[in-house]
Symmetry: C2
Subunit: 222 residues, 2 copies
């Protein structure tokens, strides 16, 4: 007997935000039926997908019988509220604020600057050539990761993971950024604390299974 | 007898993220001692401020005896968790996910693209002139607000405010974007649902008191 998936997830192999949702589902032991929305071919703006999510944004997460949920961090909070174990946030409000702040430094301060729609604007209206675009990507990845590295190095809250010794939303966002960098071939700057935490994440099945390169639609390893 | 403020807030008159924290504190009836960090003069990178927040980012929110909290949405969640009334999120998980998603469409998809550090990169390394920079700002404000407008128009969850008839985090983020647009003189696109919600927000004392133009350091009305 095949187990019925709990949810549906519309996403794409490469995107950082889809990766975050996959990891959270894996950590909670939840299953989602995945649907590929090829944003490189503009499928997110197709009539078929706009019927699912009129905003044309992925990931779109469907809890059957309800409107699609969007925005990866809002989806992570939803998954955590409806399936509390294992928790994606610590129990104390100051710890939760620290985890959310690190998550937002990555998912809100860093990631929005390197999304396809921004790259497209820069290379068309913005007049950026390939070298200038690459300079932009390297700059914001580096600035973002160095700021997080500094927090992780200096703050006593850091443990084997971003906050203590349990995986939280912050680790999911961190690994999502480094996975995207790998997918688009941007090297990691010198951020040893981050590198060690990401290595610990990647050793866990929940993260390994969510690896962009292992998803449907990913290019074959060369 | 003077009431001792509950918190300290390091921010700047004009910034969207500081505005969000001010509104949340006002809604909860909490007081913070405000410290001006003039980011136009680079004070966020001064030795004095880096002792408060080594990341040089505002807002920095101090709950005495604890490390500074950063990232406006993480601070809003903290304020809501530690002072639940009136709530900044609805009670049901689907509603909470919708509110957080709208908040993130504004604070994570839109706002990071128009921050001072991005504008600076574009006008230096990026080679944008004034017209090109203004084009960039107008584009992302417009795209962001039109996407939110579409949700608010089409989704049954919308009420007098973004979600039902109570102010939530989504309204705070929405009003923070329109307040920033006003401060940097970018006109609001044709988004009637948003305009009506923001007008309702601005009629409330909690929002009116947080108006960037009324803060220390703001330019005199001309």
């Amino acid at each position: 007997m095949t187990q019925q998936p709990d949810y549906e997830l519309y996403g794409y192999w490469r995107t950082s935000a889809t990766y975050r949702v996959r990891v959270a589902l894996n950590l909670k032991g939840l299953k989602a039926q995945e649907h590929v929305v090829d944003i490189d071919k503009g499928e997110n703006l197709s009539e078929a997908f706009l019927k699912i999510n009129p905003l044309g944004a992925i990931p779109a997460f469907i809890d059957k019988g309800h409107a699609p949920l969007t925005q990866s961090l809002a989806i992570l909070e939803f998954i955590d509220e409806t399936h509390p174990a294992p928790p994606l946030l610590p129990a104390d409000p100051h710890g939760r604020a620290r985890v959310r702040a690190i998550a937002h430094m990555l998912a809100a301060d860093t990631h929005p600057l390197i999304t396809p729609r921004v790259r497209k604007y820069l290379t068309t209206t913005g007049g950026f050539d390939d070298a200038k675009l690459r300079g932009w990507l390297v700059h914001w990845f580096t600035v973002g990761l160095q700021a997080v590295e500094r927090r992780l190095m200096e703050e006593p809250g850091t443990g084997a993971f971003c906050h203590g010794d349990q995986v939280t939303m912050a680790d999911i966002c961190l690994a999502s950024i480094t996975a995207t960098m790998k997918a688009i071939k941007i090297p990691l700057p010198d951020v040893p604390t981050i590198a060690a935490i990401v290595a610990r994440c990647e050793a866990m099945e929940a993260f390994a299974k969510a690896d962009p390169m292992k998803q449907v639609g990913a290019p074959k390893a060369s």
